[in-house]
Amino acid sequence: MTDITNTPAAEHEAQLGDYFALLKPRVMQLVVFTALVGMLAAPHSVHPVVGFASILFVAIGAGASGALNMWWDADIDAVMRRTAKRPIPAGKVQPGEALAIGVALSGLSVMMLALSANLLAAGMLLFTILFYAVLYSMWLKRATPQNIVIGGAAGAFPPVIGWIIATGSFSVEAWLMFALIFMWTPPHFWALALFMRSDYDDANVPMLTVTHGRPATRRHIIAYTVLLAVLAVGTGFTAIGGYIYLTAAVILNALFLLGAYRIWQRDETDAEADNYLVERKFFRLSLYYLFLHFGAILIEATLRPYGLGGW
């Protein structure tokens, strides 16, 4: 028999797209956008080539941590409906390949960011990768219902890294952008956990919905949303804010608070009756919420040189 089609190598040979999927492209989009806003909102300008390269290396670093997360979580990804089609559980990429790609790209991205931007930015990228891949994926995710709260910090670092790329130092504004994503992550994921009913139960991931029940999760969503609203509107009065940001923040937070209030007022019977319509709407709004807040910061920063943005 000379036909080689049925050999395992031929069946499992990954395509470039499968490797790309390991890098969690959708998370990467958010990372690129928030890091870019952090960089452009900073008071120092960056050469376009240096800026482009640096953001690219941050994106590669984020992708690398995504690959490491998929390598570690392949067992639970296979159980959850939402993640069962990821490259490793789908059998397209071998776990060893994901690990190799994750480690290699982590090293490359940190090294290159040190060369293109500065050591502090590279150090923060390394810290973020380790935070997400080791602290969150390997430890907290399966250990505590606060997994999303602490793990959310990993997703919140990109604007800080962007700011450091431009300035070489930390500042209050950078940490405000960090806090915005940090406080946004729990209500965003808890709303998802409410309507992706059985996924986390099946995978034995201690989400708040599993450990403390759904009514407690609803209370947590409203509590975090109130704190988030105070923070988001308050940011409007700082150096990165302005009329445009403040207007956007007031409208978005009013809508977000309303959504969280509705979630809080419902019980499981109401939710099942309309197939979690309110929770789904809140989740969709949360995506626009973050994008528009950072978009408004970007607009303020873009207009500032013309004397229009900011206060």
């Binding site: 028999m1 036909d3 080689i4 089609t5 395509q15 050469h47 240096v50 390269a53 690219l56």
Partner: protein, 61 residues
């Protein structure tokens, strides 16, 4: 059954290899551009340690 010179697996591999090749080429170009920008943007005429001495003289004024 004969072995065909170009099996489907070869064309798939070719696609992957071309993709990786293009990415590597892009990386090389990016590093070249970065190097160019870094060299032209940095003031190499200043002597090593001059930046510190400037700060020092300003501080003493």
């Amino acid at each position: 059954m004969s072995i065909r010179a170009e099996h489907e697996i070869h064309s798939r591999r070719k696609g992957r290899n071309v993709g990786i090749g293009l990415m590597l080429a892009g990386f090389v170009v990016l590093v070249m551009m970065l190097t160019f920008v870094k060299i032209t943007e940095t003031d190499f005429t200043r002597a090593p340690g001059a930046a510190n001495s400037v700060t020092g003289s300003e501080a003493s004024n």
